[in-house]
Symmetry: C2
Subunit: 252 residues, 2 copies
């Protein structure tokens, strides 16, 4: 892991990094983060490691709770090159959207393929982060994400026992994702817009029902796709505080 830049603002250190082909960013409190939980943040499809909503959530977690937050670009996203298959999928999504056709079938397939490539990258990132003296191997780790970031997080959690809690938002649901959810037993918090114009609420409820977790919470709120109420940002941070209890897991 090579840090390529370091800036500091409002009590938060932001470090960009590379790890082989992976491009990522790490946010941590200026006041120090030893023993604080590590949150992994998975961006939406078409977005990147510094998507505005992702950054807002990360900064809230760092400044209010003292967490460390890491995000990486999914292959073909952000600072990473698109291969021909990435380009074809992106073009197909744009064409379907422009034509007013359903994008779900294309998105679902592309997301799964992207997530399959992202999972080992997240695992390598966790290895590298845990090798940092300010994080270490004993750090409690949570994962949060939206859409593509949800698919990645669910697949990651089924193969990676270091993930201790999942806080997720809206996602296109297919049978494969339902099957993945059944294998998940760690605490899950799941936010769905009740009036989502793209994702049927019954699909969301079926995904919630499928999670094998003993502790799971669904937050449904009025509003459409991408209209996540701002207070849910803090709810998510508090969810991680409940499940990743170490020093720093209470409001700073």
């Amino acid at each position: 892991m090579h840090f390529t830049s370091e800036t500091s603002s409002n009590g938060v250190i932001e470090r960009n990094f590379t790890l082989g082909e992976i491009t990522g960013v790490l946010w941590s409190p200026v006041s120090g983060s030893v023993g604080a939980p590590l949150l992994l943040s998975g961006h939406s499809g078409g977005m990147h490691k510094k998507a505005p909503g992702l950054v807002a959530g990360a900064l809230h977690c760092v400044t209010t709770y003292g967490y460390t937050v890491a995000a990486i670009d999914t292959p073909g996203h952000g600072d990473r090159p698109r291969n021909p298959q990435d380009q074809r999928s992106a073009d197909a999504i744009h064409r379907a959207r422009a034509a007013g056709e359903p994008i779900a079938p294309i998105v679902v397939d592309y997301n799964r393929w992207l997530a399959e490539r992202a999972v080992p990258e997240w695992q390598a990132t966790i290895d590298a982060l845990q090798a940092l003296p300010e994080i270490g191997a004993e750090t409690a780790i949570g994962y949060g994400g939206m859409t593509l970031g949800v698919v990645t997080g669910l697949m990651l959690a089924t193969v990676e026992s270091r993930i201790a809690a999942l806080s997720i938002g809206a996602v296109f649901v297919d049978d494969a994702l339902i099957e993945t959810a059944r294998k998940i037993t760690i605490p899950v918090e799941y936010r769905i817009p009740w009036d989502d114009e793209y994702i049927d609420r019954h699909a969301g409820l079926a995904l919630f029902d499928a999670f094998g977790s003993r502790e799971k919470t669904l937050h449904a709120h009025s509003g459409g796709y991408n209209q996540v109420p701002e207070y849910e940002r803090d709810n998510s941070a508090r969810f991680f505080a409940r499940h990743l209890r170490r020093a720093g897991a209470t409001p700073a």
Copy 2:
């Protein structure tokens, strides 16, 4: 409104009161409550104004957020006499429960009849509370409740414009309650146990869908009837803080 006792403990003043036939209790912060929101708390069927869960929630709201909280006994509950009809309904519920028969049909009818009697009593209680100098007519008012307390709160909110927000838990749902919910336009937070052994989750989801409110939030959590996670107590207080914004609406 006659205060019949006053005690103080852990920063909270508890005053029992009577108002005509109504028996009630008022919790307020020792530090003063001028300008703080007023929460009305409706107890479950078969319980009373000092049911353990209700008291725990009230004390949390007073000590952490500086709210004033009031609860009254529903007719036939707590310190209030049962009339012959109350007694017949209570006996019928006990018999059905002992026989392992469904209690929902009896509970739904009895709850509605109780709530019809409780609504004008809550309105008289609000009048009397607003006449107290430490509360006043400008106080923002929220209502919280479980089961019977939900039915009462929904009926109250449709006729009483002073109720500005509703935070409710599990309730038996019938068509009449769905119709009542459609008339509600104030912000609603609704908690349901996902694995409720008495109340079908689809009935709960239908009730959530029926609310006419622009802002509504559903919190579903794993677990059965009456297994409300403790963190939901604070979620509810924070919901009221968002919607009853005055002095004292932020954590004390």
